[in-house]
Amino acid sequence: MPDNEFYTPDDIDLLRMENELLTFEVRFLKARLGQPAKITGSSTSLNRLAYLEDAERDLVLLLRRLSGSPVGPVLRRSQRFRTLEQKYIHSPRLQGSSSPERLAYLEEAERDLILLLRRMSSKPFGGVLRRRKAFRTLEQRYL
C-alpha cells in the first residue's frame, strides 16, 4: 500500500472548524426535519439541555423586557414577580452544564417560563400581547 493511502489528522484548526461546521449542520438538518423544539421525557440528553437553556434565556429576556417596560413598577408590586426577577436577573446563574443542580435550575426556569406565559396569555392582556410576533413565537414554542 503506498504511503499516501494514509494521513494523520494533525491540523487542529481544520479539525476544529470541521467540527463546528458539523455541529451547525446537525442543527440545520434537525430544523429541516421539523423536529419539535419541545422534547419530552426526563432524559438529560444534549437536545433536552439545549432546549432548557433556550427556555432559561427566553425567560431572562422576557423578564428584562417586562421589568424595563412601563408596567414594570406595577408588576413589581407582586411578590411572585419580584421573586422571578431576583432569581433570574439579579442572582448569578448556576454554571456547569452537566451538574444536577444546573439541570434542576433549568427545569425550574422552564416551569416558571410556562407559568408566566400562561398568565400573560390569559385575558385581558393576551389578545394585545399576541399582536407581537416575539410573543406569539414564545407561546408557540412553550405552550
Binding site: 472548524m17 451547525f24 440545520f28 428584562r64 421589568s67 424595563g68 416575539a134
Partner: protein, 267 residues
C-alpha cells in the same frame, strides 16, 4: 440645515434592531430597504443604494465585505460622484436622514468628509456573540444551498476569519470615535436589549428631533443568542488585540451612560 445620523456596527451586533428603533422614531433610512430574511426576520433596515455603493467600493478594491485586515479604500471619481449625488439628494429631500450598514464601519471617514456634521451611532457587541451569530447565519445559508456558497464556506476554511473581521470593523469604529468624540455615541447591543433609552439619549446629546419611542419588541431573541462555549481562536496573537478593542468599546459605552446621567442630573 439638515442633520444626518449614521448607524455603524459590526455584522450581527444589533444594528438592525437599533435602526428599526430609529426608523420608528422618525429617522429616514432610505427609499428601498433590504427585505427581511430568516436570519433577520424584522428586516435589515439597510438602504439598498448605500449598500450597493459600499459593495462597489469594496469590489473596486478587490474585496468583499469579509474584510479582515485594516485597509484604506481607494475611491475613484465615479464613486465619489455617486456618493455626492446621494448626499445632495437626501439633503434636499429630508431634514433628518441617515443610513445603516455594517460596511459603513469601513467607510466612515469618507462619509464624514462629505457630511462634516454627520453624527455616528456606534453599536457594538461582544466578539463572542457576534462571531457565533455570524457563523450560525452563514452555516444556514451554506446548507440551504444559497448562492455564494464559496463565501459562506470561507468561515470554516480560514481560521479566525470572523474574529479578525470583528477586530477590523471595530477598530475602524474606535478610530473614528477617537477622531470625532463629539459626533459619536456608542451603545452596546446589551445596553439596548436591557432597555437603555436610546432615542432619549440621542436627543439629549444632539437634539435631532427624533420622537421618543420605547425599545419595545425590536429584538429577535434568536438573534441575541450567545455562544454556548468559549471563543475558539487559532492565532493566539489575536487575543490581546481583541481584548483591548473590547475594553475600549466598553469604555465608550460607559462614557455614554455617564453622559446620560450627567445630563439627566443637569437637566
Amino acid at each position: 440645515m439638515t442633520d444626518q445620523l449614521i448607524v455603524a456596527g459590526f455584522h450581527r451586533s444589533g444594528t438592525s434592531a437599533t435602526a428599526q428603533l430609529l426608523h420608528r422614531a422618525g429617522l429616514f433610512l432610505g427609499y428601498e430597504l433590504l427585505e427581511a430574511l430568516p436570519s433577520n426576520p424584522y428586516g435589515h433596515f439597510e438602504d439598498k443604494e448605500v449598500v450597493d455603493l459600499h459593495h462597489q467600493i469594496l469590489a473596486d478594491n478587490d474585496l468583499t465585505w469579509l474584510v479582515d485586515e485594516p485597509f484604506i479604500p481607494v475611491v475613484d471619481e465615479r464613486r465619489w460622484q455617486q456618493m455626492r449625488q446621494l448626499v445632495e439628494r437626501r439633503n434636499t429631500e429630508h431634514r433628518l436622514w441617515g443610513f445603516k450598514d455594517p460596511r459603513a464601519c469601513l467607510f466612515l471617514a469618507l462619509w464624514k468628509y462629505l457630511l462634516p456634521d454627520a453624527r455616528v451611532l456606534l453599536v457594538y457587541r461582544h466578539f463572542s456573540g457576534s462571531t457565533y451569530s455570524l457563523a450560525r447565519r452563514h452555516s444556514a445559508l451554506l446548507f440551504a444551498g444559497t448562492i455564494s456558497g464559496f463565501l459562506h464556506r470561507r468561515f470554516w476554511e480560514e481560521p479566525d476569519l470572523a474574529l479578525r473581521m470583528w477586530l477590523t470593523y471595530n477598530k475602524a469604529l474606535l478610530a473614528f470615535a477617537r477622531a470625532y468624540p463629539d459626533d459619536t455615541l456608542a451603545v452596546s447591543m446589551n445596553m439596548i436589549r436591557d432597555g437603555f433609552p436610546l432615542v432619549w439619549a440621542i436627543e439629549r446629546r444632539w437634539n435631532l428631533g427624533l420622537e421618543d419611542v420605547p425599545v419595545g419588541e425590536v429584538f429577535n431573541p434568536a438573534a441575541t443568542i450567545e455562544r454556548p462555549r468559549r471563543q475558539p481562536v487559532s492565532d493566539q496573537r489575536l487575543i490581546g488585540d481583541v481584548e483591548r478593542a473590547w475594553q475600549d468599546l466598553e469604555e465608550l459605552g460607559a462614557r455614554t451612560e455617564r453622559m446620560l446621567k450627567e445630563r439627566t442630573v443637569a437637566g
